[in-house]
């Protein structure tokens, strides 16, 4: 799978799409493959304040549970409700329909320090 150009990525395998002051956050295709069959996605509540680099929830597969670290800071405005009922969507469309949360960004410039698609591709290519 190719990594969309309009997302920014972390070395912990999250992504963020910034549009104005809204950031949509997800995990990467590499992350979902590493985890395997996903069975639970735990996400924060709307209104929660999330800090960049801190845990915003967790993703659990048959094999293991893994923290999700937020690539940016802000207040949760929306949580992807689909994932509570159909966590397997995260294995199928991690860069699209299976986004995790939307934040109202408190510091939109934070995303500029993240990896580009090409840099992330090179990073996971080297890692695996």
């Amino acid at each position: 799978m190719s990594y969309p150009e309009d997302l920014r990525y972390t070395k912990e395998h999250e992504w963020v799409r910034v549009a104005g002051d809204v950031g949509t956050i997800g995990i990467t295709d590499h992350a979902q493959k590493e985890l395997g069959d996903i069975v639970y996605v735990d996400l924060p509540k709307v209104g929660a304040h999330i800090e960049h680099g801190k845990s915003l929830g967790s993703v659990e597969s048959v094999k293991a549970v893994s923290d999700i670290y937020s690539p940016v800071s802000g207040e949760v405005t929306e949580v992807n409700e689909i994932l509570a009922q159909a966590p397997e969507k995260l294995n199928q469309d991690p860069h699209g329909a299976a986004w995790l949360v939307k934040l109202r960004l408190s510091a939109p410039d934070e995303a500029k320090g993240l990896l580009s698609a090409a840099d992330y591709q090179a990073y996971v290519g080297a890692e695996s």
């Binding site: 590493e34 395997g36 069959d37 069975v39 639970y40 597969s61 048959v62 094999k63 549970v65």
Partner: protein, 369 residues
């Protein structure tokens, strides 16, 4: 992923990589954890047939006029009661009654026993047996001479039968035969670690890539899939088969692990016997039990288990059980608490989640003729 220590590889490493397996470090071995997907592989073994590379497992051969006496002395089960061509699950114990390893003992001839041992324990096991060898027997570290492939599932027999003249239907559960697979010598044992019918074959390492491919071809019409250690773990957990380092280790005894059936106290002296006799007299203080999660969450290895809000034990293995659509696990609890129906709490990421002790195995295959 950066590794500072070189991982060992089986002769099938290239085959795994070429088929797109996800490789992980498993006790110092670079092994496939999954190919297409853990759950898919799990169901394939339950419903059809799956292929596992288990060449990382160790082999130790014991030969000589007193081979049986040595094996009987270092194991808990009665090697003396094996017939030629029969295999037996057994324990290697320390004097204090804890496990060195859990192993399979195969009686090849009156003076030749073949032991299959856990990968990470093989050197330790070899030293343990050699140190105890005050008998007219030779102990031979044979891991480099064998690759091991497990063919598991209800269609395992029909798959393997295509590649061997040995009549597989004549091999009973926990029996084995020396014959050929794909035209080369093979030890064919009707054993496994999945809770399904199946075979484990021991072949020369050089021949194993060809046999692996021929098995995939032979099983194609049945939907065979190569499977990784991830599925192997969920399959064995559902069948409540112990995993060394989890349910059993140096500080657990067979009685605590509910493996009293592999202990034959009446067979004569063996390493660990005195400790087990004493434990039997006094009764075990803790026991391994199965649990099902009732609340939302998965109790995983190492998580604390509470009874009435008080820390009482720990999870040894826990996972979703794909064949049962439940989250299950095994844990040690004080013997007095270890009864089916008892409500417990598993601390899942610092939150108590309700669970209940249940009878095991979680999964049992329907008996076939």
């Amino acid at each position: 992923m950066g590794q500072s220590v070189a991982l060992k590889r089986t002769p099938l490493y290239a085959a795994h990589v070429s088929m797109g397996a996800r490789m992980v470090d498993f006790g110092g071995w670079e092994m496939p954890v999954q190919y297409t997907g853990l759950v898919d592989e799990h169901h394939t073994v339950r419903k059809a047939v799956g292929l596992f590379d288990v060449s990382h497992m160790g082999e130790i051969e014991v030969r000589g006029p007193e081979a049986m006496r040595l094996v009987d002395y270092v194991t808990t089960n009665a090697a003396s009661r094996l017939h030629i061509g029969q295999a037996q699950y057994s324990g290697l114990l320390y004097e204090h009654g804890g496990f060195v390893d859990d192993i399979l003992v195969h009686k090849v001839t009156e003076q030749h026993y073949f032991l299959c041992v856990n990968a990470a324990n093989q050197e330790k096991d070899f030293e343990h047996i050699r140190t105890a060898n005050n008998f007219d027997a030779e102990v031979d570290f044979a891991s480099d001479r064998y690759a091991q492939i497990a063919v598991q599932g209800p269609l395992a027999r029909r798959t393997l039968q295509k590649l061997t003249p040995v009549d597989l239907s004549s091999i009973g559960y926990y029996w084995f035969r020396d014959g050929t697979v794909s035209g080369v010598p093979a030890r064919i044992a009707r054993t496994g670690y999945t809770g399904e019918d199946g075979f484990e074959i021991y072949v020369a390492p050089d021949e194993s890539p060809r046999i692996w491919n021929e098995l995939l071809e032979a099983g194609r019409e049945f939907g065979i899939k190569p499977c990784g250690l991830g599925a192997r773990n969920t399959l064995r957990l559902e069948a409540k088969m112990a995993l060394y380092g989890h349910e059993i280790h140096a500080s657990t005894t067979p009685f605590e692990a509910e493996l009293g059936w592999i202990v034959k106290l009446d067979k004569g002296e063996f390493i660990g016997r005195a400790a087990l006799v004493k434990q039997k007299e006094q009764g075990v203080r803790r026991k391994l039990v199965g649990f099902e999660m009732r609340g939302r969450g998965i109790g995983r290895d190492g998580y604390e288990v509470r009874c009435n809000g008080v820390a009482a034990g720990w999870v040894t293995s826990g996972s979703p059980a794909p064949s049962l659509n439940k989250n299950v696990g095994l844990c040690y609890l004080p013997a007095g608490e270890a009864r089916p129906g008892r409500k417990i709490e598993v601390m899942v990421r610092n939150q108590p989640v309700e669970a209940e002790i249940v009878g095991t195995p979680f999964y049992k295959r329907a008996k076939t003729a």
